[in-house]
């Protein structure tokens, strides 16, 4: 009972929340969040790159092919986003599977506890 209470108090809260979702819904939601984080991180990295090379940009401002430059940025963004999403997919699939497994074990222990309580009541 102590262990069940400890689980309920700590990891249980997260696990129960996760297992409330369907697998597809949970992973989609997490992938969406990951995409937002990756976009913010990539935007900041691009901003740093532009600031770092600002002198070159200003010098070649009129010679630059902006379409080509944007294409380069976009292809790198797609690459970063894909890698980040693939990693996120594996991580969150694993977390979902584990949360479900833990909640299942917890429910089995709850059943066992209920069974013990019932036996105790009948004994009285």
């Amino acid at each position: 009972m102590t262990r069940m209470a400890a689980y309920e108090e700590r990891e249980g809260k997260k696990d129960i929340a996760i297992s409330g979702y369907f697998r597809g819904d949970y992973i989609s939601l997490q992938l969406l969040k990951s995409a937002i984080y990756a976009t913010v991180g990539f935007a900041l990295a691009v901003a740093m790159y532009v600031l770092y090379n600002i002198e070159t940009f200003l010098e070649d401002f009129y010679k630059m092919d902006f379409v080509d430059f944007l294409k380069g940025i976009l292809s790198k963004y797609c690459l970063v986003l894909s890698v980040y999403l693939v990693i996120s997919y594996f991580v969150y699939s694993y977390r979902y599977k584990k949360a479900k497994h833990h909640v299942k074990q917890y429910n089995q222990l709850l059943k066992a506890l209920m069974h013990m309580i019932n036996i105790d009541r009948k004994g009285r």
Partner: protein, 327 residues
Amino acid sequence: MESLLVIKQQLTSFYTRFEAYIVPVLKFLAMLIALLFINGSVGFMTKLKNPAIVLILALLCSFLPVNVIVLVAGLVIVAHMYALSLECAVVILFIFIIMYALYFRFTPDDAIAVLLTPVFFAMHIPYVMPLAMGFVGSPVSCISVGCGTAVYYILHFISGHQDALGGGGLGDLDVEEMLGGFKTVTDGILKNDAMIAMIVTFAVTIIVVYLIRRLKINYSWQIALGAGMIVCFVVLLISSAVLDADIGIGGAILGLIVSSLLVLVLQFFIFNVDYSRSEYVQFEDDEYYYYVKAVPKVTLDAPQGRRKRKNTRRSREDYYDDDEDDY
């Protein structure tokens, strides 16, 4: 050994009894040490170095979640950087946001590793973190330890080049000088070979320790520690040679030995089992048959201090408690 077990049991029961008070105190101490380290290395804003402010911040953080503590520590660093120069503050803020986005997505529970890694670096025993996180964490812990390592090297670089980087805040706004400063800071931080060598070494060490300690073999934790030490040293040698990084090998050996001793103490508290009394049990539920190897924990019977010798068959409930780690 028995006296050590008595101490362990007393500490455990003390912690269990006063957990509500001990956790805030530990958070307070962690934040206090982190703030003292930050102020000692990059304390450019005199207001934030005021002991009263340090104490108030540490006290405030003792009641906050660890993730927020990391955020507060990051903001303190950015404030110090702003006092040094605006370009430093901008670069550090950008890098911190990128790191926070990366780390917070995957390892929000490892926030303490981000905070403690720079502190252990300052104590010259950084190897504690990859070894310990290999035992208590998971492979993704290399993100939080990597972030902590990057923070240490950023602070180290800034404190070593403060004269060259100091350009004042918004008061002395000279765009050309600022852009030059921006380039210097970015180069100094991102082209730091020692930092890259350390991040690679720590990541490999965490993964190796994690994989070995999860093996179903006797003494896996002890083997993992030994293998972790060797791998850490070898990868450090290789990566520092490949990247031409300036890392002291003598200091690394000494640091590794001290770190492994500290990790042994940690092992004693979190994984102290008696393999000689291992037993194999079988049971089933509605859906599965379970073939379980049960290794009893070394515990004390009673306050008299007698070590448990009797074999007890593990119940199904015990099996359920031995679970995989979080990813």
